[in-house]
């Protein structure tokens, strides 16, 4: 359409040059409503369409979906450190079985275990010394 009537549109525009008296439409609407004759109206239940019936539910669902998405985005960015490697490691080391499995799998050498035991003993001794002081 735009291409076809572009010559007319460019030259003449869309204003047909007609005008109406001032407040014509306001006056007309008032006059027309007042002059409506009495007619017999048969009451009819206009059945709402499927879309009209489900529309509020769809809007509600969309709203909750939007809120859920926002919450997911927030928790993804703000809780990254808590939900990261640190949190997983913390969870795994809480479980004794996981620690034993880790040791059994050979990832920890005897030297590591002895060093760990030494450090535990030393820290216990420090605590006892502090208590005596």
């Amino acid at each position: 359409m735009k291409q076809e009537d572009s010559t007319i549109l460019t030259k003449y525009g869309k204003n047909p040059g007609f005008k109406v008296p001032e407040n014509y439409f306001e006056d007309f609407n008032k006059r027309m409503t007042e002059m409506l004759p009495e007619v017999e109206i048969t009451p009819v239940d206009v059945k709402p369409t499927m879309w009209q019936r489900v529309r509020p539910l769809v809007y509600l669902a969309a709203m909750f979906a939007g809120v859920w998405c926002m919450m997911s985005v927030f928790s993804h960015f703000s809780g990254a450190t808590n939900n990261g490697v640190g949190a997983v490691a913390e969870k795994l080391t809480d479980d004794k079985e996981n620690v034993d499995e880790f040791i059994m799998s050979g990832s920890v050498s005897d030297y590591d275990i002895i060093s760990y035991e030494d450090s535990v003993i030393m820290s216990n001794e420090d605590e006892v010394t502090d208590a005596n002081d």
Binding site: M1, K14, F18, K19, V20, F25, I41, V44, V46
Partner: protein
């Protein structure tokens, strides 16, 4: 940010509700069939459609007083037949149909009064425009109106609906009961004829 999101959602729903309160077509159609609310509902219909129907009619009958009469007849006809409107089609489509039929009937009656054949074009309507107090267009706009008036009835209708109202072909098809392909062809022919008419008058 979540608070902002919820606030904007709330504001948006409030705006939507305000717009719906202003004119809700589904609600108005339901009220039109309620004997206690029908008259008030039709008042809303008049308020909502009077302007767009007026301009469509005006472009067909040209004269303001004639357009006023035809618009009045359109709403009277719609109101007296409101029981037949069951909401199967859009209210706007139904009103446009009535307005177009009323305009064509009016123009044909006027032709008879001016002792013209029904097949004659509507140029006689435009010829009095220059002296009309409700026309403030220049010579170019007058020429365009003359060119449109020289078109066959169907092409004139299609051109007015498409060019001025920018109506989609599928909606136009519902109103005029013609296929979209035929409407596109009508519009194409109308544009060519107008360009030719204007080329000759310049």
């Amino acid at each position: 940010m979540l608070a902002f999101f919820l606030l904007s959602l709330h504001a948006q729903s409030k705006t939507c509700m305000a717009a719906r309160e202003k004119y809700d077509e589904a609600l108005v159609v339901a009220q039109l069939h309620d004997p206690n609310l029908s008259k008030a509902a039709f008042g809303k219909v008049i308020e909502h459609y009077s302007s767009q129907l007026y301009w469509q009619i005006r472009r067909m009958v040209i004269d303001h007083d004639d357009a006023n009469d035809v618009l009045q007849n359109t709403f009277l006809k719609a109101w007296t037949n409101i029981d037949n409107f069951r909401g199967d089609a859009k209210l706007s489509t139904w009103l446009y149909k009535i307005a177009i039929n009323e305009s064509i009937t009016f123009v044909n009656k006027k032709k008879v009064m001016n002792q013209l054949s029904i097949d004659d074009d509507e140029s006689f309507l435009v010829n009095q425009l220059e002296s009309d107090e409700w026309f403030d267009g220049d010579q170019a706009q007058l020429n365009l109106q003359k060119a449109i008036a020289s078109l066959p009835e169907k092409q004139r209708l299609v051109f007015n609906l498409r060019y001025y109202d920018e109506m989609k072909y599928d909606e136009m098809s519902e109103i005029l009961g013609t296929s979209e392909g035929a409407l596109k062809a009508s519009y194409h022919h109308a544009v060519k004829k107008i360009e030719q008419f204007l080329g000759e008058t310049e």
